[in-house]
């Protein structure tokens, strides 16, 4: 266990930290340059833009949380027929390979022949070329992100919902609360531990999104600057430009940002999470 952890987690982390202080040649061979990479990092406007894109992606995909809550609440009704079928369908995207998901969605988003634009045309809207449009490409990818992560969050919320005692719902109903009121005043507050868990995981995961971008956006896409996430930039710098030292520095910057965001979230939880 320790050997596996050390070999596959700790050793690469230490090596990456070391690389971030070096500059690499085209075929390996590194020279120590101290904080040089980090200094260029903070002046690199492509890094800033990639962080901005990643933040927008994260925020949009966080919209999956309220959607998942509502769906989970609906699935949790007693006596709902075909509950297990619904659960399978919602969970299928989670167990589908991201690259396969991206390929299919790329076809769906095709400007001329994709289903999405076809459906839009039925209501008289001419859909844009989603994946090459600077305004819409990131939104298009975020929608796929939501689709992929929804099932997982629903399952977690379902588990959280089971923990809410039925008597509370009945008491609220007796006091005259309708379904919506019950949801807002009974379900949501008691679900906050699950919401917290899901939100933390979502932020950590979406900040590292790469595979969707890699399949759906080509390097000659004019919208690449407005869509590129920070891990995609890491891949570009590390494996296409072969500047491994700089890429390692980007990786550590990302590590620092995610750690910071997670710490902030943990601090804030005291204010809004009700542990029963």
């Amino acid at each position: 266990m320790v050997l596996g952890l050390g070999l596959f987690y700790l050793w690469p982390v230490v090596r990456t930290a070391y690389f971030s202080f070096t500059k690499w040649g085209a075929f390996g061979g590194s020279t120590w340059i101290g904080l040089g990479n980090y200094r260029s990092l903070f002046h690199d406007h492509e890094v800033l833009q990639a962080l901005r894109n990643t933040a927008i992606y994260t925020l949009i995909v966080l919209l999956a949380v309220p959607i998942a809550m509502v769906v989970a609440a609906m699935l949790n009704q007693r006596g709902l027929r075909g509950v297990s079928v619904y659960r399978v369908f919602y969970f299928l995207p989670v167990v589908t390979i991201p690259a396969a998901v991206a390929i299919v969605w790329r076809l769906l988003y095709n400007g001329d022949y994709g289903i999405i634009n076809y459906l839009l045309s039925l209501v008289g809207i001419k859909g844009p070329y989603w994946l090459s449009s600077p305004t819409f490409a990131l939104v298009a990818i975020s929608i796929v992100g939501i689709w992929m992560v929804l099932g997982q969050q629903i399952i977690i919320f379902l588990a959280g919902l089971q923990a809410i005692p039925q008597e509370l719902h009945e008491a609220a109903a007796i006091d005259g609360a309708g379904p919506a009121r019950r949801f807002m005043s009974v379900t949501v507050p008691l679900l906050t531990p699950s919401i917290f868990f899901v939100t933390v995981l979502s932020v950590i995961g979406t900040f590292q999104m790469f595979d969707l971008m890699y399949v759906m956006i080509d390097p000659n896409n004019p919208a690449i600057a407005q869509t590129r996430t920070i891990v995609y930039l890491f891949y570009e710098r590390g494996f296409i430009d072969n500047d491994r030292g700089y890429a390692a520095a980007i990786a550590f910057l990302l590590f620092g940002i995610i750690m910071l965001l997670t710490l902030v979230q943990f601090r804030l939880q005291k204010r809004w999470v009700h542990y029963v």
Partner: protein, 469 residues
């Protein structure tokens, strides 16, 4: 197993038990290695085992290697296993046949042909080679040649060439010059490509336009494109890019040369992108967009223009010889090819060619040389040419290629050879090619004027070239 043969009979009993355990371990190891792509392994810090040099292998020699016995190269009567990396998907079927034929003629050498999709080939190769791995035989092209040769990643071939008295004169001077580095050869020329104008005879007939021929000029093409464009049917004259990934060679390098411009100065220090004639060559494509005879750049990013050509949505298509087997596979009998339309200069097209090189880290360089020698010999080139997937570079073998797909006027590609200018390369071509891709894509998308983009690219490219020194 060769090791068992070498030992005495008294040790064989013990060996049988031991080697079974070792075999199981080896199988598990090979299975594990089969799951991890060779590139990842190499990136994890350079395992020098044969399995890392090109992805999973399932041959018996790899289990022998994994189970701790010495590598099989030294033992007699055992086939040496080589890997050969390439990117062209057209080569998949033919390469298996030719590799099998080679093995029949040379029983102690087996070659495994490994394809990596073009978009990932160079990334994967660079990663593998940096870690001391990579295939034994490497398909090489002009833009990457100097980078690999100058960094000692390719084995020098001059000794082999003189030892086996290989005659290089059947290969054109242009190709030979590309694959020399500091007056030594590090790769053997293999094939060449020029670019031709493909056209859909059906669409031409429907619009009542005469088929293109070798006397066409830019104006002829533009006029025809206008007559052929029929937006109500969703048909366009010509796409302003044949494939967003191949654009330079299939598109604007040709028109730049046709306009009398250049991409890089002969000494490799200055960019030609801000030269007015070069900009004329680039404007050819934005003019087509402005005239409305091409689908928009965004449309072409979503749907590959070659798919548009196959389904009859565009009437003309600038394409390399690798398009011929592509069209043949799609049963396109109503298309044909001719020379590219003339610009103001003599030159019609850009010529490029790939080569085979030996990985400097290969443990079987002698055997790898045998393979390369065979592939690039007169008979070898004829065998490749007969498959129709590439134009052999060996003088006198091209007829075989012409006959391979007789339904197309492939001669057009050969006729363009006289005036073809070489593919522009420098020590680290990939860097400024990437800049060209991202800067010019803004112009193709109509966001930036092409002249501005070209000048911006020239400045960036000059920077990149300066860093090469």
């Amino acid at each position: 197993m060769s090791d068992a043969e070498a030992k005495g009979s008294s040790e064989r009993a013990a060996d049988a038990v031991l080697s079974r355990r070792a075999l199981l371990k080896g199988l598990a190891g090979a299975a594990g290695l089969a799951v991890v792509p060779g590139g990842l392994l190499a990136a994890c810090g350079g395992s020098k085992s044969k399995a890392a040099s090109g992805g999973a292998t399932t041959s018996a020699s790899s289990t022998a290697a994994a189970s701790g016995s010495a590598s099989s190269s030294g033992s007699t009567g055992k086939a040496v296993h080589l890997t050969c990396g390439y990117w062209d998907p057209n080569m998949n079927g033919p390469s298996q046949q030719i590799a099998a034929a080679f093995q029949k003629a040379n029983p102690d050498i087996s070659v495994e042909m490994q394809q990596t999709p073009p978009a990932e080939y160079w990334t994967k190769l660079q990663t593998a080679v940096s870690a001391g791995g990579g295939p034994d035989i490497i398909s090489m092209n002009g833009p990457n040649y100097q980078l690999y040769a100058s960094n000692g990643m390719l084995a020098p071939l001059d000794e082999y060439i003189s030892k086996d008295h290989v005659d290089l004169s059947p290969f054109s001077q242009g190709l030979r010059d590309v694959y020399k580095y500091k007056n030594a050869y590090y790769a053997m020329p293999f094939n060449f490509s020029t670019i031709g104008l493909w056209y859909n005879k059906q669409l031409f007939d429907d619009a009542g336009v005469k088929y293109p021929d070798e006397n066409w000029t830019w104006d002829d093409l533009k006029a025809a494109a206008q007559k052929l464009t029929n937006k109500s049917k969703g048909v366009y004259g010509i796409p302003a890019t044949s494939d967003p990934a191949y654009m330079p060679q299939e598109e604007y390098y040709n028109t730049i040369y046709q306009a009398g411009g250049y991409i890089i100065s002969p000494d490799g220090t200055k960019s030609g992108f801000d030269d007015p004639k070069t900009i004329e060559g680039l404007k050819f494509w934005t003019d087509l967009q402005a005239m409305g005879v091409s689908p928009s750049y965004q449309q072409m990013l979503d749907t590959n223009p070659s798919a548009m050509f196959i389904s009859g949505k565009v009437a003309m298509f600038y394409g390399g010889p690798w398009r011929a087997p592509q069209w043949a596979k799609a049963n396109l009998s109503h298309v044909d090819v001719t020379q590219l339309p003339k610009g103001t200069s003599q030159s019609r097209t850009c010529i490029h060619g790939t080569a085979f090189a030996i990985n400097a880290h290969s443990k079987h360089k002698d055997e790898a040389w045998e393979v390369i020698k065979s592939f690039t010999s007169k008979d070898g080139e004829e065998a490749w040419g007969a498959t129709g997937i590439l134009i052999p570079a060996y003088q006198g073998t091209q007829d075989v290629w012409l006959k391979s797909l007789p339904q197309y006027n492939l001669k057009a590609y050969i006729d363009e050879l006289q005036t073809a200018l070489p593919y522009p390369v420098s020590k680290n071509t990939a860097v400024w090619q990437k800049d060209a891709e991202s800067i010019l894509s803004q112009a193709w998308a109509g966001k930036v004027d092409i002249t501005t983009a070209a000048k911006q690219l020239a400045a960036k490219m000059n920077d990149d070239l300066a860093k090469e020194k």
